[in-house]
């Protein structure tokens, strides 16, 4: 229990750090968002200096308040779920824009990451059991190559060969744009159909890591004495592999899973960019391009909070899976 409280403290600290980065980053950087938008507006036509003042108030920069007052005002706004107004989708608030985009990212990523984790670990178990076989050496060396593939490149190849040349699956947008987004079968089927290619590329690019980690920990576990004991007792192979070896070997993978989730949420940026998929990754990219800093900051914050939450969930799961954690052992 103390272990979990300690972790909780660290996560709260991480969120606080992220919020602070979010606050200070724009203020450390040369120029401020208000000036950027003002400059953009002045290129389109004459604008009065009063506009700059108004923009500065809107963004909360260059005010006469001392920095710490601004900081606490910012924290207060955040606590009330107020992330500011998006310039790009004016007058929608950042919260509204995010909540529209988030489900796409959540569904696509959670399904494909879980699939990749389950499939990769399972194959890893199998490879470790049949270690040294032709299948193992072939697949292991193939994975070595996959492990270090650049995701956008893989996605481009998939778009080009499977999408563009063979025309098997759609390779842009999250749904058939002729349909109106709504909860009906046509729309859901279309969305699922459009998700196949992005999901496939995510699985391919992440599966190698799980497979290799699982294979290596599994090999180490298989040489433990209790495995020998289990075999000697005459248990079935299936039981030895899954209930004895894999159950212990999966633990490092789960730690890795938490860390990977963070990079995967961030990686949605690349997925959604290549496939022009609706989602927060694409929204962040477009927001940055449009100098919509409020939106970009809001999404950055959300991604960090999401990563922290997933880490917390994995910590709880860890306590269930590993009895040693429950019995007071802090990491």
């Amino acid at each position: 229990m103390r272990h979990l409280i300690r972790r909780l403290g660290i996560y709260l600290l991480a969120i606080w750090a992220a919020v602070s980065i979010n606050f200070f980053l724009p203020r450390l950087a040369p120029g401020n968002p208000a000036e950027v938008v003002f400059f953009r507006l002045s290129q389109q036509g004459s604008v009065s200096p009063a506009t700059l003042k108004a923009l500065e108030i809107e963004f909360g920069v260059n005010t006469t308040d001392p920095l710490w007052v601004q900081y606490f005002a910012y924290l207060n706004n955040l606590l009330h779920g107020n992330l500011g107004v998006s310039i790009q989708y004016f007058p929608s608030t950042v919260t509204e824009v995010i909540s529209q985009n988030i489900r796409w990212t959540l569904i696509l990523l959670s399904v494909s990451v879980l699939m990749s984790f389950a499939l990769g670990s399972l194959i890893g178990v199998f490879l470790a059991w049949r270690r040294g076989s032709a299948f193992d050496s072939l697949l292991s060396s193939m994975m070595m190559f996959l492990y270090s593939i650049l995701y956008p490149w893989l996605a481009l190849l998939a778009v080009y060969f499977i999408g563009f040349k063979l025309n098997w699956f759609p390779y842009a947008d999250g749904y058939d744009t002729n349909l109106i987004p709504d909860w009906n079968w046509d729309f859901i089927l279309s969305a699922a159909y459009h998700a196949i290619l992005p999901a496939l590329t995510i699985v391919i690019s992440t599966i190698a890591g799980w497979m290799l980690t699982m294979r290596n920990t599994m090999i180490t576990t298989l040489s433990e004495d209790y495995i020998m004991m289990a075999k000697a007792k005459g248990l079935t192979t299936r039981r030895v592999i899954f209930a004895y070896a894999a159950r212990n070997a999966i633990l490092p993978s789960i730690t890795g899973f938490a860390i990977a989730l963070g990079s995967v949420v961030g990686g949605s940026l690349l997925v959604e960019r290549v496939f022009s998929y609706p989602g927060i990754g694409n929204a962040l990219f477009l927001g940055i391009q449009a100098k919509d800093y409020a939106l970009a900051d809001g999404i950055l914050l959300l991604v960090i909070v999401a990563t922290v939450l997933m880490n917390l969930i994995v910590d709880l799961l860890y306590a269930v899976l590993d009895p040693r954690v429950r019995q007071e052992r802090s990491a």
């Binding site: 492990y147 270090s148 290596n216 961030g266 940026l269 940055i288």
Partner: protein
């Protein structure tokens, strides 16, 4: 890995040709410097032995070595501006004049690829080194001192561990400047915690060993114990983590460049992909334009991954293949 005895080796274990070097150092520093050098030579000899006995390490280092050679000598041999533009028809398939065809600006893809090798590898290894320096310092200091220092550093490490690299990098690059340097700094700042955690755990277990206690009681300063006594014993973990971070860093930098957050006045594999994607290479079916840069990244990455898994196998005998070759006799003597 049975590395622990290598540091406290008496200077007699140092090979003949190394002795003059060790002797030329200042007398009061001589013993530790010699120990450090002996550790380094042992490691170098072992690495060489490993590179020739372990197949993964052999293949991995040849791939990486090849690309490093291309990065160093390729541009010297070609000596043409990779961004050189000649008026004329754009995208052309590979021919004898242009080995990998040309892009829409009539630039030679092969020349860009060779120059890109230099930029991409340089930044990957430099950023990897930056990550290494941070993670080694934090990991070793936090593991050695323990107590409050460890608590503070561990919290910082754990906080950084959950901050996602790519989105932060994009926002930071946008706010500061669109240079590879900004990208490298942000990628380094978000990638060090993993290595630091592993090294901290290792240092923690090494803190109580006899050779550390011995040097502490002989009045060695803490930073000396940390970097000259403990550090050489963790070199295999450090090497493995440098290799893995280099892969991650290379992918992160290339990913950012692909998104257009790179420097457009230099050529790298990432910017080549950005150009190809944004100039419609897919629709023009110009595979020779978008396929090679990604393939090079994958090859270098695979080479590094092979090296990493090879090091893992050397460190953990249980991972090795069943048919094992004999270790050279010399090394057994050095390790004994």
């Amino acid at each position: 890995m049975s590395q622990s005895p290598s540091s406290p080796l008496p200077p007699t274990a140092v090979e003949g040709e190394q002795e003059p070097e060790a002797a030329s150092l200042e007398p009061q520093e001589g013993i530790t410097e010699a120990t450090f050098l002996s550790a380094l030579t042992t490691i170098a000899r072992r690495t060489w032995g490993a590179a020739t006995t372990n197949r993964k390490v052999a293949i991995g280092s040849s791939i990486v070595g090849f690309f490093v050679l291309v990065a160093i000598f390729g541009p010297l041999l070609i000596n043409q501006d990779p961004l050189h533009y000649t008026p004329g028809i754009g995208v052309k398939p590979p021919s004898s004049a242009h080995w990998l065809g040309t892009n829409q600006a009539n630039q030679d893809v092969f020349i860009q690829l060779v120059y890109g090798t230099r930029t991409s590898l340089f930044w990957a290894f430099l950023t990897g080194l930056l990550v290494l320096i941070i993670s080694v310092s934090v990991g070793l200091v936090s593991g050695y001192f323990g107590g409050v220092v460890d608590d503070i550093l561990s919290v910082i490490t754990n906080v950084f561990l959950v901050i996602p690299s790519l989105p932060l990098a994009i926002v930071a690059v946008e706010y500061f400047s669109r240079t590879v340097f900004t990208v490298a700094v942000v990628v380094a700042l978000t990638n060090w915690p993993w290595g630091a955690r592993v090294l901290r755990a290792q240092t923690l277990s090494m803190r109580g060993r006899e050779f550390v206690t011995a040097s502490r009681s002989s009045g060695e300063r803490p930073w000396r114990i940390i970097f000259f006594e403990i550090f050489p014993n963790e070199i295999s973990i450090v090497a493995a983590s440098f290799v893995t971070t280099s892969i991650q860093v290379m992918l992160a930098v290339a990913g950012l460049e692909f998104l257009g957050f790179g420097n457009s006045s230099t050529v790298s594999w990432g910017t080549m992909l950005y150009d190809a994607y944004n100039s419609g290479a897919l629709l023009q079916e110009a595979w020779w334009w978008f396929a090679p840069p990604g393939l090079c990244i994958a090859l270098v990455g695979a080479g590094l991954a092979l090296l990493n898994f090879g090091i893992d196998e050397l460190a953990d005998p249980r991972l090795r293949q069943l048919k094992r070759r004999k270790w050279p006799k010399k090394q057994r003597v050095a390790a004994a």
